[in-house]
């Protein structure tokens, strides 16, 4: 017997994963082998692995279906857990769960980001007593995720299913990338849905990547391939520090993208006409630095990371081109989550407001728009990072509040000369205040009366008047906004604020 006791052979066997037919099945779906995924994710394709020999004595369970690794991504040390769907469909046995818990513990000790590369059928029922209910059963994975949230970045790349309990892994991560056509999340499979509740539905419709990235909001970034998911994850992590105690690394500054029009010309004269906020964002950030979160979900609000003069910022912007930029329950949720994410990792916030207010009507009241709106206002209030509020065009009603209006202690509230701040717009206000008067006037006099009152109203809310009342801190032309932001973000860097002393708030949910 050789002294190394067939080390090389054993390693080779473990590294080859499950049976060839499962590799072939994955390949047919455009899925990469778990070790190939790791090779793409890690710098130079190198990593160190723990628990490689897990269940190595049992035939057909190499590494017990999960690779747990530590290595560098974009120069930063990170921990990774990655399911191997060629081994029992990536299901969780007792050792699988133990390995996942251990890599979480490692990430916590080292205070480094943790990636979850998910492709798993869920619990291995045959192992349930060992892996499901106990102290170090699967429940501990979620408990740990909750504990790690806000301490270290947790990133989920969903390559295949994440079923039943496993679907909570993405739910507790900061961000979820989903591969279109392969990734899915669901508590009960379509087969189970048909058996238990009688619903006939396809997997794609019930829990597919597109659905989750556009309707449920459980997915953040929809990608076409696994390679793209990995590239996006590498890009994402570049906006973050390794943990809550550190700050994001500054990159080489870049000028904004060359625009066809001046920034000021983007904004239509008619306050009620739509324009594209993406173009406005491009005009003030470093070229090609925008990394959007939830692009397909609640499009009336844009959330994403960008760099301004090389420094990472989180942008929350109304999109007048979608639903008039009105805030809905979903957009409020989207904002609340994004703001919390930025605040946890010291990423300064930039609010770009052009908002007619929160949506009204039966539909949204039934959907609980008030409590969802409260989440956004709560998250924005609590955010203690440098916070700049820019009123690009209008900020009406609670829309002003939600977009970090003056009462919510932004470090400054800047208005463009085109800005209008009011409880409501002139049309609505004149109707509300003078409804009876208008009715009592002879028909031929009404129009002139309304015009006159609107004009008075406009004058009353004139932005220079609001600035003279110290409501806004400065008025800045659109084309000078970037320079203003560069300077201010730099000067606000030393901000060190504790919002409130207590155990924690009673979160509006």
């Amino acid at each position: 017997m050789k002294l190394d006791r067939n080390w090389e052979e054993r390693i080779k066997k473990i590294e080859s994963g499950g049976a060839p037919k499962y590799h072939e099945a994955n390949e047919a779906k455009g899925k990469l082998f778990v070790r190939k995924r790791l090779a793409l994710l890690f710098d130079k394709g190198e990593w160190r692995e723990d628990g490689k020999f897990a269940n190595g004595e049992t035939e057909g369970l190499p590494a017990d279906g999960v690779v747990t690794a530590i290595g560098k991504v974009e120069g930063k040390t990170v921990c990774v857990m990655a399911n191997d769907s060629t081994v029992k469909a990536g299901s969780w046995g007792a050792k699988t769960v133990e390995k996942i818990i251990r890599i979480q513990e490692t990430a916590e000790k080292l205070k480094v980001p943790l990636f979850y590369l998910v492709d798993s059928a869920g619990a291995r029922i045959t192992d349930q007593i060992e892996m499901f209910p106990g102290r170090r059963g699967a429940g501990r994975i979620f408990y740990n995720q909750v504990k790690l949230s806000g301490m270290i970045p947790q990133i989920c790349l969903l390559f295949g299913p994440s079923a039943a309990g496993g679907a909570y892994i993405p739910a507790f991560c900061d961000v979820v990338m989903m591969v279109d056509g392969n990734a899915s999340m669901y508590l009960g499979s379509p087969r189970m849905a048909e058996m238990v509740i009688g619903e006939k539905v396809s997997l794609e419709e019930m829990g597919g990547a597109k659905m989750h990235c556009s309707i449920s909001g459980c997915g953040d970034i929809l990608v076409k391939s696994e390679e793209e998911a990995i590239r996006e994850a590498q890009k994402y992590i570049s906006y973050f520090p390794s943990n809550f105690k550190e700050k994001t690394e500054v990159k080489e500054p870049a000028a904004p993208k060359q625009m066809d029009k001046a920034l000021a010309d983007l904004i239509p004269e008619n306050q009620n006409a739509p324009f594209d906020m993406y173009e406005f964002i491009n005009g003030i950030i470093d070229e090609d630095s925008f990394f959007e979160i939830k692009a397909l979900f609640a499009k009336e609000l844009i959330t994403g990371f960008a760099r301004i003069n090389g420094k990472a910022v989180g942008i929350v912007a109304n999109q007048p081109k979608q639903k008039g930029g009105v805030l809905f329950h979903d957009s409020a949720d989207k904002a609340a989550r994004f703001i919390t994410l930025c605040d946890a990792y010291h990423i300064p916030l930039l609010f770009l407001a052009d908002v007619p207010g929160f949506m009204i009507g039966t539909r949204v009241e039934k959907a609980g728009i008030i409590r969802h709106g409260a989440k956004m206002i709560s998250a924005m209030s609590e955010a203690a990072v440098p916070k700049i509020s820019v009123v690009v065009r209008k900020a009406y009603g609670a829309g002003l509040y939600a977009m970090a209006g003056p009462a919510f202690e932004p470090d400054c509230c800047i208005a463009l000369p085109s800005a209008q701040i009011a409880v409501m717009g002139p049309e609505a206000a004149v109707n509300a205040v003078y409804a009876n008067k208008i009715q009592s006037l002879p028909e031929e006099e009404r129009s002139a009366f309304i015009q006159e009152k609107r004009k008075e109203y406009q004058e009353n809310i004139d932005i220079y008047r609001l600035a003279s009342e110290l409501i806004v801190d400065n008025i800045v032309p659109a084309d000078e906004l970037r320079d203003e932001l560069v300077d201010r973000f730099e000067m606000y860097e030393s901000k060190d604020q504790i919002f409130s002393t207590r155990k924690h708030p009673v979160y509006p949910v």
Partner: protein
């Protein structure tokens, strides 16, 4: 049967396609007036307008069907 639905409640201000007209994904088909704003509604699908279920000035609620389309 393909349909174009509204994503938001509001009054139909302008209908921008006619019966028998081809529409492509991303094309603006209706402008609503809601929350004192002009709200363009775009088609997500491709097809030919077979039936127009709304009139200018009528109220539509979120998810109401505006047009029925047939294949080109």
């Amino acid at each position: 049967m393909k349909e174009i639905k509204t994503t938001m409640a509001g009054n139909v201000w302008k209908i921008q396609v006619a019966q028998g007209e081809e529409v492509t994904p991303g094309q603006e088909v209706v402008i609503l007036e809601s929350m004192k704003m002009e709200i363009p509604i775009s088609s997500e699908v491709e097809g030919v307008v077979e039936e127009i279920l709304i009139e200018e000035g009528t109220f539509v609620n979120e998810e109401d069907v505006l047009f029925k389309l047939k294949d080109k």
